[in-house]
Symmetry: C2
Subunit: 322 residues, 2 copies
């Protein structure tokens, strides 16, 4: 009988890339053993509603509600409220679907009554039938701010309104110094048999999580293997501006640059087969590396990548035990 | 050439009944000469959103958006947000359609930025192509509260959640003592060539308007004829709990009881043909009375009732001039 030697798995997650990996992991790891620590740095307020794009993408994906093509929102959702809001002259560049609106209405109202984002997210996960533990990185508002030539932009202004085109001069996580990890976050890292850094943007998805005081050191001290999945394929991200950000911040977009960003944390890195030339240089830094197809365009490909993550994690564990 | 001798017309309005009269009046009076002072006593907050049921019914009716059967909301609107909210365990007995939500989202956000309800309502009217002047009775929050055997209920709890079934022991307009008429309200009454009290509930639609300090006396002092349309047909309202409220408050539901409530204000009353036995008693109180079919089930019937209102107003004016 084959035992699940991995035990609990804890994933640091942004939005779509992380969600694609998670839909694979849930097929291989019992949901009750899976925790996800989700970036809240790109949360924002639209029409008075508190929107958590990454939490929503994770919840919608794990509940089967997500729109597989768009990567955000609920499949088949309408945009009647948005259209009417536009009629009133409101800014509607951040599109919120009609059903999706309920998620933000509920969250905003619960926050107003004094509930924490953790409590609300747990309630929403339950309501959506998600048994994976979905933890916001913190209950304290942290905002990723992009310094661009035209000035400071909120992350959604930069990514959605300006379509990720402005040059990125610097990135700040406003409020992060006074943030504390949400309840359960440090425990999920400390108790894990495997810590996974999802294929998410290292600056604006994983970066804010690691910047919450105590989180980076908890990952560093974790007894579990720490495995990252590169969000780059041939030096370019599947989605989003990670490569332009790397260049804007003076790096060459590559698996090596990614490994450098996580140097103090990682035991192993899963990179795309297209980046296999990086295997040698990466291994000289002491990392275990798997170069495999990482494009998770179907559920089956998500499972395949998840299997590689668990496999390389097991091999790190075996090496440590020997 | 026939001149419009009526000049400006100002209507005190609740929701559906008033909207039905207004859709007739706009066919006979230039929209630019028509002002509506709308009850805000049954405004309420749902999911953190500021909802003004009567203003919305008036705006949706005058813009042609309203659902003609339901009497509230936007025709053809979906309820996807509500269904999802119910999934999260939120109370959804007050149904807000998806497009309708935009009205409340916009209003709530604009209130948060410091705009007044008058300013927001004017902007929404403009956006919806409504050129009738739609004035909230006040920019100060006033809440109609129903004292029922089970305790104090907000008006929407009483009407929608409890379906108007609880006995009504008393009605309060919370906050009304410190309210002031919204900008334009007293002027619209003072400048009018005709003041119309719409066929709305005298306690919970017209009552709150008249209770705003200065409004009742402005109507009393108005040089224009004041004409009310009874909301009762055969002693029963077309919609809503007016008759039960009258009984609960110790009155016999009738055109006579209505005239008594408005005694200090009225010059004339339009009642339904079914209540024509009240003509004699009403006329002995000095009122002019027209008994006509008042059920405004079609636009043509709305126009017919509006014509009677203008006609009886003109006859009052002629009598005053003679």
């Amino acid at each position: 009988m084959k035992r699940n030697r991995t035990g609990k798995v804890t994933v640091l997650a942004g939005g779509v890339g992380a969600a694609r990996l998670l839909r694979g992991l849930v097929e291989l790891v019992p949901a009750s053993s899976l925790s996800v620590i989700v970036n809240t740095g790109d949360d924002d307020v639209f029409h008075g509603l508190h929107v958590c794009p990454d939490i929503d993408t994770i919840l919608y994906t794990l509940s089967g509600l997500s729109d597989p093509d768009r990567g955000w929102g609920i499949a088949g959702d309408g945009f009647h409220a948005m259209d009417q809001l536009a009629g009133y002259g409101a800014e509607t560049w951040f599109r919120l679907g009609d059903r999706d609106l309920a998620t933000h209405l509920f969250r905003t109202e619960e926050l107003r009554t004094g509930k924490t984002l953790s409590q609300i997210t747990a309630a929403q996960a339950r309501a959506l039938g998600v048994s994976v533990r979905v933890l916001p990185m913190t209950d304290v508002p942290v905002r990723t701010v992009i310094e661009a030539p035209q000035g400071r932009l909120s992350f959604q202004e930069y990514l959605v309104r300006e379509r990720g085109r402005p040059a990125v001069r610097a990135i700040h996580y406003e409020g992060v110094r006074s943030a504390r990890p949400a309840p359960g976050v440090l425990k999920a890292i400390g108790e894990a048999g495997l810590v996974v850094i999802a294929p998410s943007n290292p600056f604006v998805s994983i970066g804010p999580i690691l910047a919450v005081p105590g989180v980076r050191s908890a990952v560093r001290r974790a007894t579990a293997p720490v495995v990252a999945v590169s969000p780059l394929i041939g030096g370019r991200p599947v989605k989003g501006p990670a490569d332009r950000m790397m260049r804007g911040l003076g790096m060459k977009p590559s698996a090596l640059a990614l490994a450098e960003l996580y140097r103090d944390l990682l035991d192993a890195l899963v990179i795309d087969a297209a980046d296999r030339s990086a295997i040698g240089p990466l291994e000289t830094t002491g990392l275990r590396v798997a170069a495999v197809p990482t494009l998770m365009s179907t559920p089956a490909r998500s499972i395949a990548v998840a299997r590689h993550v668990l496999g390389i994690g097991a091999s790190v564990r075996a090496a440590l035990a020997s």
